[in-house]
């Protein structure tokens, strides 16, 4: 306990406090602008940490990380453009809610859910960090393979009206994921002799094109020359029904658990957490068919899940020195620069710094409660008052600048445009886009893990299911696929009995 009270007194001084407030606000903006992502912003802040009080620098990292995970929900709800890959699942129900005039309610739910997920995650980091970190070591290639397959099973909830097209979309995503150098053999696949393809297609580039360009083109088609008045903005407060908030509590608990679970595993990220939480909420619901049509539970699950990933992803980094994602790698490199050695001794080496950073992850999550809602409605929603024809070029420029700065090359802009035009037509023929992104994220993980596992077992397939954890994971995966079918059969039988 003394560990944290001591750290808290350092964190609650002027420097770190202002840094946290400023960075959380900045993070919300970064998350809300399609193309801009927290990794980029944190990487740029990194040099500052060399000369700055490390607690101030880490406060900024925490603020940007937590703020941006929530910020991604804002355009997801208002425009159906996910600000980050992790907010794709938020579009499923967030946009339909906004469409029927409940934008402000959807934003509120997103804001609270993000804050709750973040807080739960930070508490897990502070109380069980080192213990959970040891658990992650039991996960070898075979187990990672099953996690990827488990994530793939959640594709079932997003296939839409035509399952064949949904699966086709996922396979396309898997195929896109194989582009580039194969890490296990050095073989270049589907690169057509183009060096820029050796690293594969960047997820953000495809995401921005596929998701942001179709809405922009539709805006151009609508050709609104006037813009909305303040009254037409549909930000009217839709009051919560009695018991509605209480009804969200189980979803929050479940999504927090899933987010933390996914977060502690190096390599699995917030986007997987959001999909899995959404899937779990739908499976647990009495009325799964209302998902995708503006069910607040869907927004709550997705947003809570992706924020619950954040602090948890720091657990293997701080406790073992194994960065699970790029943000964690950046935090580790900031710590090394201050002469700290990541690894099991870190907690004893500099308790003020480590404890302080965890505190900052907690406080910035709380700050989302206070700051998130206002930023969304006072600033971003107001953009919609511009005439639609002016929104078209401005969003397009934001997309381009975001995509360009990832790798600093023009070819990415063309990839984005091509993905966008394809996305526009594919949507029109009921071809769901979310499975494409899911395939791109999980495909490489599934393929590399299974091949590594087979290298280790010298080609023995049975080791994929005979190891204790992988056996459990395999069973759970089967359950997740079968459970909705069982439920569906039961529901069909019920009316027949009556």
């Amino acid at each position: 306990m003394e560990f944290y009270t001591n750290a808290l007194s350092h964190v609650l001084s002027f420097g770190p406090l202002t840094a946290m407030i400023g960075a959380t606000l900045l993070g919300v903006f970064i998350g809300a602008l399609p193309g801009l992502n927290p990794v980029m912003a944190i990487a740029l802040l990194l040099p500052l940490t060399y000369s700055m009080d490390p607690l101030v620098a880490l406060a900024m990292v925490a603020g940007i990380y937590n703020g941006s995970m929530y910020g991604g929900a804002i355009p997801a709800i208002l425009l159906r453009i996910p600000g980050t890959p992790a907010s794709i699942a938020t579009t499923f129900d967030g946009f339909p809610m906004a469409d029927r005039g409940e934008a402000s309610k959807a934003l509120k739910i997103a804001c609270w859910s993000s804050a709750i997920g973040g807080i739960a995650s930070a508490i897990a980091l502070m109380t069980m960090g080192p213990m959970l970190a040891r658990v992650t070591l039991f996960f070898g290639p075979a187990e990672y393979f099953w996690i990827a397959i488990f994530g793939m099973a959640s594709v079932a909830v997003m296939v839409g009206s035509d399952p064949v097209k949904g699966i086709m979309a996922a396979v396309l995503g898997l195929l896109i994921g194989t582009i580039g150098i194969d890490n296990l053999s050095g073989q270049a696949r589907f690169t057509f002799g183009q060096t820029w393809l050796l690293g594969g297609l960047d997820l953000i580039v495809v995401l921005v094109g596929l998701y942001a360009l179709p809405p922009v083109l539709q805006l151009a088609e609508k050709c609104d020359l006037k813009g909305l008045s303040a009254a037409q903005l549909k930000l009217a407060d839709v009051p919560f029904k009695k018991g509605e908030i209480r009804g969200l509590i189980p979803t929050w608990l479940r999504a927090s658990g899933i987010g933390i679970g996914v977060g502690i595993l190096p390599g699995a990220g917030g986007n997987i957490a959001a999909f899995l939480s959404y899937n779990a909420a739908k499976n647990a619901s009495d009325d799964p068919s209302s998902f995708g049509k503006g069910n607040p539970q869907g927004v709550a699950a997705a947003e809570c899940g992706n924020n619950a990933d954040n602090a948890a992803s720091m657990i293997p980094a701080l406790a073992l020195g194994i960065p699970g994602n790029v943000v964690a790698a950046l935090v580790l490199s900031a710590l090394t620069i201050h002469g700290l050695q990541p690894g099991p001794q870190l907690f004893h080496q500099n308790p003020t710094l480590v404890g302080g950073f965890m505190m900052e992850m907690l406080i910035t999550s709380v700050l989302i409660f206070a700051l998130g809602g206002a930023v969304a409605t006072r600033v971003f929603a107001q953009f919609q008052r511009l005439p639609g024809v002016l929104l078209v070029p401005t969003i397009l420029i934001l997309m381009c600048v975001g995509v360009y700065v990832i790798n600093g090359r023009a070819i990415d802009l063309w990839v984005m445009l091509a993905a966008g035009f394809a996305g526009y037509f594919l949507e029109k023929v009921n071809f769901p886009l979310a499975p494409v992104i899911l395939g791109m994220i999980l495909g490489p993980m599934a393929e590399q893990s299974v091949r590594r596992a087979l290298l280790i077992s010298r080609g023995d397939m049975t080791e994929l299911v005979t190891r204790p954890i992988s056996a459990v994971l395999a069973a759970v995966t089967v359950l997740v696929i079968v459970w909705p079918l069982v439920k569906m059969v039961r529901r069909r039988r019920k009316p027949a009995e009556q």
Partner: protein
Amino acid sequence: MEKRQDIVLGLIFVGIGIFAAWMATSYKGASGTYPMVLGLVLTLLGATVSIKALRQPTDQPRALVNAPAKLGTAALVSAIYVALVIPLGFYTASFLLVLAMPLALGFRRLVYALTVAAVFMSLIYLVFSVLLEKPLPRELILSLNAVGG
């Protein structure tokens, strides 16, 4: 309409699948198996979509594009913008886009568009060039100036 669209969609994916599987035959060892399986699965799924559409008795109307003229204009202007970003420089091209896109779509309040362009571009400049210090395509105007001076 819907029927024909789905048949074409299915055939496109059959094409992609076969092409991917064929490419994968030249990859060595385990690195080729996985994409080849994916390609073949994609071919199967594409064929399923096409056959399902062929068998469908009813053909409901489903418009691919609502306003072809507007969509065409927007697509063309976007492509020209992307083509000009490198030669003209990011800020020049973007400023032109904020003016050209609304004009092309029939917006005639030039002062309004100019104001939005100016405010928006200065915001972008502040965020990307001042705050984040990200290198963006260099402005042609500046280098012309340098040669002239």
